[in-house]
């Protein structure tokens, strides 16, 4: 998968929040085989004041994808993105503009607005969006080259709530990298997303809050690989009735 000119071979992006400790986080990163880790930048961690934690993250050989988690307006997200660019010396930004504090669903109006401003400023955007096709088009029009539709609300672990819409999105944007972001709870959810033809999966809570985060990171990587290979291998069509898997031809003739 090619994203903004960078070749990405691991279809798993991992968030870095909520782990029991940075040591466990680093072990989970290794076990997942991820190449891209997301980092949340709150205002109090800007200006390098979160240095201790960020230094630990930099010890991994991963691309850091800062995000604007917790921003509720386009302006807040824009300001945070600029801080992140300075702090992490990257023009990649996972753009989140939250519209509702309970469901954490994206404010797609603020998202498109922020995307326009940041793309014009040279940012390479990873927008956290819904599965809405029109919003997707507007984000591409604003300069995004990747779309990150939600599977379910952030941290809910519900899996894909609307697989049909994600399938439609895949068909409608055949050449745009699509990354399912948020809502993955179990390895089977991640495999499901990949079976739909998604290019990658971004997850955090499902690993961080597992009883054994390192074991779950490994399981997710395996599931994502299985889902991807299953998609490429073109699964059979579903049928309503049984079809015998044992051929009639060559049966012993007992008559």
């Amino acid at each position: 998968m090619q994203i903004y000119g960078t070749q990405i071979t691991s279809p798993l992006l991992l968030g870095t929040a909520q782990y029991p400790s940075p040591t466990v986080l680093n072990a989970a990163i290794k076990a997942s085989g991820t190449q891209i880790i997301t980092v949340s930048l709150r205002r109090e961690t800007a200006n390098g004041s979160g240095a201790g934690f960020f230094d630990l993250l930099r010890q991994n050989d991963c691309h850091i994808l800062p995000n604007t988690a917790g921003c509720h307006t386009a302006q807040e997200a824009i300001t945070t993105a600029k801080m992140a660019r300075e702090l992490f010396e990257t023009d990649w930004i996972k753009l989140e503009v939250i519209g509702h504090s309970d469901t954490l669903q994206p404010d797609v109006f603020g998202l498109v607005k922020a995307a326009r401003v940041l793309a014009a400023d040279g940012f390479k955007l990873f927008p956290y969006t819904t599965e809405d096709l029109v919003v997707g088009e507007k984000l591409l029009d604003a300069g995004c080259e990747v779309l990150m539709p939600w599977g379910a609300p952030i941290g809910s672990g519900q899996g894909l709530r609307n697989p049909n819409a994600l399938r439609a999105m895949r068909a409608y944007f055949p050449n745009t990298p699509l990354i399912v972001d948020a809502g993955i709870g179990r390895p089977s959810d991640a495999a499901h997303a990949m079976e739909l033809g998604m290019d990658a999966v971004l997850l955090n809570t499902a690993v961080a809050k597992a009883g054994d985060p390192v074991g779950m990171a490994r399981a997710m990587a395996l599931a994502i690989k299985a889902g991807r290979e299953g998609f490429l291998a073109e699964p059979m069509e579903r049928r309503d009735m049984a079809v015998p898997s044992t051929p009639i031809l060559g049966m012993a003739d007992l008559g």
């Binding site: 029991p20 940075p22 040591t23 205002r43 109090e44 961690t45 240095a51 201790g52 941290g155």
Partner: protein, 322 residues
């Protein structure tokens, strides 16, 4: 003579463990009083090793097991357990908490109301950690200061530690490599309309919090855990989340007065487990993270056994049972 830098809970606990074995101890403290150690002064004071096991490594639970007995030699300990509750829509958090911890019993709403009448009808289920306890960390710090002084320890306030001390307990100020600060913010409220006698933890996927009774209708609400070295006062967001959580626990907190807020930068190693480290002739006791009052006794015990070579450093369980 053994010299110690820092008179927060770690430095004082070390002084006590060394002095009670007959050592001649001097403690250097840059601040003027116990209240100048923000990590200790703004602590929650929960002696709750099993609850902490939800997120902490097993070693933290193990090291914390002896803390209640230790503090009972020093100060008043409220040994009435911890309650853990969750709003109905976050019931999954309670299930997860129960799976990740032990030493608790599941109780229903009626049993909860018998323990804490103020919570009657508010939660249908709870976890009760009956063997946990809490202290008032400020009183504990003052009592521990008096206790070590009674043992002959010389605490020199307003005095920078000399270049080479035997034991360094200054947290982030020690400059130990591998430490990072974790900002914690807390609020003290006075709520005469709400009566809780034990620590209550409210689970929430984003804003878990605890309420620790300080007596006389005063409660400490804490605490955030933010990867940051900023000393600025508590943010509006943190205050909203902590107070919103407290209000969800009991609406009576809505009528409370906010009487204090505080911020501390707690030192932690990458695995969030405290330890003794050696740099030259100095032994560092550091990385106590959010477990200062819970783990200082165990770390101080390790230090003393190292100094007096009574037992091996690894042999902590023997100490915990002592």
């Amino acid at each position: 003579m053994i010299t110690i830098a820092g008179a927060g809970v770690a430095g004082l606990a070390c002084a006590w463990e060394l002095a009670r074995r007959g050592a001649n101890v001097t403690v250097f403290e840059a601040g003027a009083a116990p209240s100048d150690n923000p990590c200790s002064w703004f602590a929650g004071g929960m002696l709750a090793p099993w609850c902490e096991g939800e997120i902490a490594e097993a070693e933290v639970v193990h090291l914390g097991a002896g803390a209640i007995k230790w503090w009972q030699n020093i100060t008043h300990v409220e040994t009435c357990g911890t309650l853990v509750v969750a709003p109905p829509r976050d019931r999954a958090e309670l299930v997860r908490f129960a799976q990740r911890t032990d030493h608790h019993q599941r109780i229903d709403g009626e049993a909860l109301a018998r323990l804490e009448p103020a919570l009657e009808g508010r939660f249908g289920q709870a976890l009760f950690f009956k063997d946990e306890a809490h202290i008032d960390p400020r009183q504990a710090l003052i009592d521990l200061t008096a206790a070590v002084q009674t043992l002959g320890v010389d605490i020199r306030y307003d005095t920078m530690a000399p270049q080479n001390v035997d034991v360094d307990c200054r947290g982030m100020a020690s400059g130990v490599p591998g430490l990072r600060p974790i900002r914690g913010e807390m609020i003290v409220i006075e709520a005469p309309d709400v009566t809780l006698i034990r620590t209550v933890r409210l689970l929430h996927p984003r804003i878990p919090l605890y309420v620790v009774p300080r007596g006389d209708g005063v409660y400490m609400i804490g605490a955030t855990m933010i990867e940051s070295s900023s000393w600025r006062p508590i943010t509006v967001r943190s205050m909203l989340e902590l107070l919103g959580g407290a209000f969800a626990l009991h609406p009576g907190f809505g009528e409370a007065s906010v009487i204090e807020t505080g911020v501390g930068l707690r030192p932690a190693f990458a695995d969030n487990i405290p330890r003794l480290t050696q740099q030259g002739d100095t032994t560092h006791v550091n990385g106590l993270y959010r477990h200062g009052f819970l783990l200082a006794p165990a770390l101080a015990g390790q230090l003393a056994t190292q100094f007096f070579q009574e037992k091996t450093y690894e042999n902590q369980s023997e100490w915990a049972d002592a």
